[in-house]
Amino acid sequence: MECNARSESGFTVISLQGEVDLHYSPKAREIILKHLNDKQHVLVDLSSVDYIDSSGVASLVEGFQHARTHTLKFALVGVSDAAMQILQLSRLDKVFPIYAGLSDAVSQL
């Protein structure tokens, strides 16, 4: 898994790439929570995620709940088919704010 963060239009965009499984999800969780703890609004770009398991999804849920508690913006963007499948199976596609692309999220959040 590759994971990087950059600033864009008032958000921190965290891009997850490759396979986000139990081996790598702690790293994703750490980066997401680090930026939220720094009071940054976070967009997680899942467009290059080939595989994500329930531990990776748990990291996203934790970020979402942390953001909501601290009145920060948090959304998923460019969700790949592989990531969307597990979100739908978990019914979390109705919970997370999800946007097709970064520009959509930035303009609507």
Binding site: D21, L22, A58, V61, E62, Q65
Partner: protein, 142 residues
Amino acid sequence: MADADLPLLAQKTFNSQSSELQAIRQLVRELMEQQGCTEKICNDAIMAVNEACMNIIQHAYCGEPDGKIIIEILKDNNYIVFRLTDFGPPVDKRKCKSRDLDKVRPGGLGIHLIQSLMDEMEFVEPPPANGNILELRKNISG
């Protein structure tokens, strides 16, 4: 429960480490592709077996990295059977059930995903000494 004399398509032993999950998924993918499965059926099986192995790593072995996970893949007519054996303490089967998805919280999705993705999920008679055997069945006829 799968019969003991079902054709064995593959058998491999892994350590109870998260770094093994990628190889486990690769084993399932190669086997399902050899069987001519559709992409969807292949991906369903990969996700389900990955979730089951995660549960073994996290719950049966509680993160202990030296445990063993034996994966046997068998053919039963139109079904592929994944038999996962571990040697951790016996699982309390009453706790192995899907949780309420309306309560949004991190974790606890594994059983729900496995049951959603596979046609059958069953704990069968465990090894003589200790451990658990979980069988997952997937109909590959489409």
